[in-house]
């Protein structure tokens, strides 16, 4: 029954999937009226699109918001939240969300629950579920009843969006005050090097993780990818070691991909990595650890030594292709 406000994030100028997920999550938590806060520059078209899932779309359209800055957003939203007093404020748990939510929570003096993967009830305080210890443990957490309301950051991909939302909402334009966060100024966004591969467009991806052990071993992955006509992707540890460029990193702090087929080799399957795999592709996993989390999200799995399996797989694929 209590109202909710969802912070919409724009990624690459487009509405991020999390907006739809959070809208539905808000409704399932009991909100009849779900509003969206859309921050950006020249976003009228997006506002229109959002009316499908939201009852009200509050538009903050200003040059200051061309680049979504966490501090600027928190400074902007705090008085708005105080004024409109939604019981729950939903923020996607992305890098952007992590940057702004704590500050927003302090400014509005609301309890903050982060990285939530399920909401159990929102009647008497909030009961929700999040993970701890690198995803190995789930925790039931509770926000004590608070008249002022709550702020929740939800893990993208954990909540299903509505199938055919038809909220038919209205659009409301809000004023954007000047000099929102003077102590922090945007300098530049670092563009990836031109000519680097774009894995976000690939249909088939062969992803490699820490299990490859050494840079030299990447050869077998390249070979396999070639046999499949696929692009090579990877998880964060491989990029941290500088074996592959960041343009190949899939995950919450990397890129989101939407392939048809995703072959995960030597990847444990942490949510930070799988969070970048969207659209429910066919996932095949090869890992020597039968307890690796990847096997819970994959469609098919092989427990074995990737140094044996991968060359064998390449061989069989080449045979099958004739």
């Amino acid at each position: 029954m209590a109202d909710s406000l969802v912070l919409v994030e724009l990624v690459g100028g487009e509405i991020d999937d999390s907006a739809w997920e959070l809208a539905e999550a808000a409704r399932n938590a009991g909100s009849e009226k779900v509003a969206a806060a859309l921050l950006g520059k020249d976003v009228a078209a997006h506002a229109e699109t959002l009316t499908k899932a939201f009852d009200v779309v509050h538009v903050f359209d200003d040059a200051q918001l061309e680049v979504l800055d966490g501090e600027v957003s928190a400074a902007l939203l705090a008085p708005f939240v105080e004024r409109t007093a939604p019981a729950m404020v939903f923020v996607p748990h992305t890098n952007y969300g992590m940057d702004l939510a704590p500050g927003l929570a302090v400014k509005t003096d609301r309890p903050l629950l982060t990285d939530i993967i399920a909401i159990e009830s929102a009647n008497d305080g909030i009961q929700a579920v999040r993970t701890m210890y690198g995803g190995k443990v789930h925790a039931k957490v509770k926000a004590v009843p608070c008249d002022r309301g709550y702020i929740l950051t939800l893990r993208p991909g954990s909540f299903a969006p509505a199938d055919n939302p038809a909220a038919g909402g209205t659009i409301n334009t809000e004023e954007v005050p000047a000099a929102l966060a003077p102590g922090r100024r945007f300098v530049e966004t670092i563009q990836p090097d031109a000519g680097e591969v774009d894995i976000t467009q690939a249909e088939v991806l062969v992803a490699v993780g820490r299990g490859i052990e050494e840079e030299e071993n990447l050869e077998i992955i390249d070979s396999l990818a070639e046999a499949l006509g696929a692009e090579v992707a990877c998880s964060r540890p491989v990029v941290d070691k500088k074996w592959l460029s960041k343009s190949r990193q899939v995950g919450t702090s990397g890129l989101s991909v939407k392939p048809k087929i995703y072959i995960a080799i030597g990847i444990s399957g942490s949510f930070q990595h799988m969070g970048g795999v969207k659209g429910g592709p066919f996932i095949a996993a090869i890992n020597k650890d039968p307890a690796a989390p990847i096997f819970s999200v994959a469609n098919v799995g092989i427990v074995g030594d990737l140094f044996d399996i991968v060359p064998l797989l390449e061989e069989k694929i080449n045979e099958a292709k004739g």
């Binding site: 928190a74 890098n95 701890m132 922090r184 499949l228 098919v300 799995g301 399996i309």
Partner: protein, 262 residues
Amino acid sequence: MEIIVCVKRVPDTAELEVEIDRSGGGIEERDLAYGINEWDNFAVEAALAIKEEHGGKVTAITTGGEDDEEVLRRALAMGADEALHLMDSAFEGSDAQGIATILHKAISARPFDLILTGAISSDRSSGQVGGMLAAKLGIPQVALATDLKVEGSKAIVTHEVEGGLERVVELDLPALVSVQTGLNEPRYVSIRGIRKVSSMEIPILGSGDLGLDAAAVGSAGAVVTVEELFLPPKVEGAEMLEGDEEEMVEQLVAKLREQGGL
């Protein structure tokens, strides 16, 4: 420059199968080894690098019990000049904003130019304390820094944003930066190094010293509580292929063909 680093002692659970303890409120501690939170380690290294370049002092701070003093000694062995231990039974059971409150009281009582923390901790992973602390102190902050430089009265910070991109921002000091792993290569601390600082004094401050109302912190003041821990349910998951390596691979190839991958 006065630099403050907030550090936390966490269990090392990366290679272990974590078990829930009997009460259901925590994890089984029997085989656990503890150390500094990996993100905080990068923060300490960043603080030391800035001090080495610009001069000044690095102070390491932690909240927590007696055992947590270990991470302060480690920070001192790495090269921090001072350490502060915020300890009081009233602090036990604090949630993130409680910790931020305690830190706020301790830090606002001293001069500081820059506060560094890890973006998240490997145990709870809430990622809240840094941002909350900055807001309470009324200073600018940025989260998930992958590069950090100080120029005069500004910090130039590169941080992770959406779409796998990175963005550079300028912060006016005093400011707070929460760091992401990979920001630098933390120096090693040898056993001998830790022994060398074993006799350095580390002052302990309690709620009285900080002027804190016990009701605002600890379990008394927590607005978010952990009710119960449980192991994730075994999801149906993947179809695990069987047979020898050749058989499994052949089955996989058949499935890939079905999916149109060949």
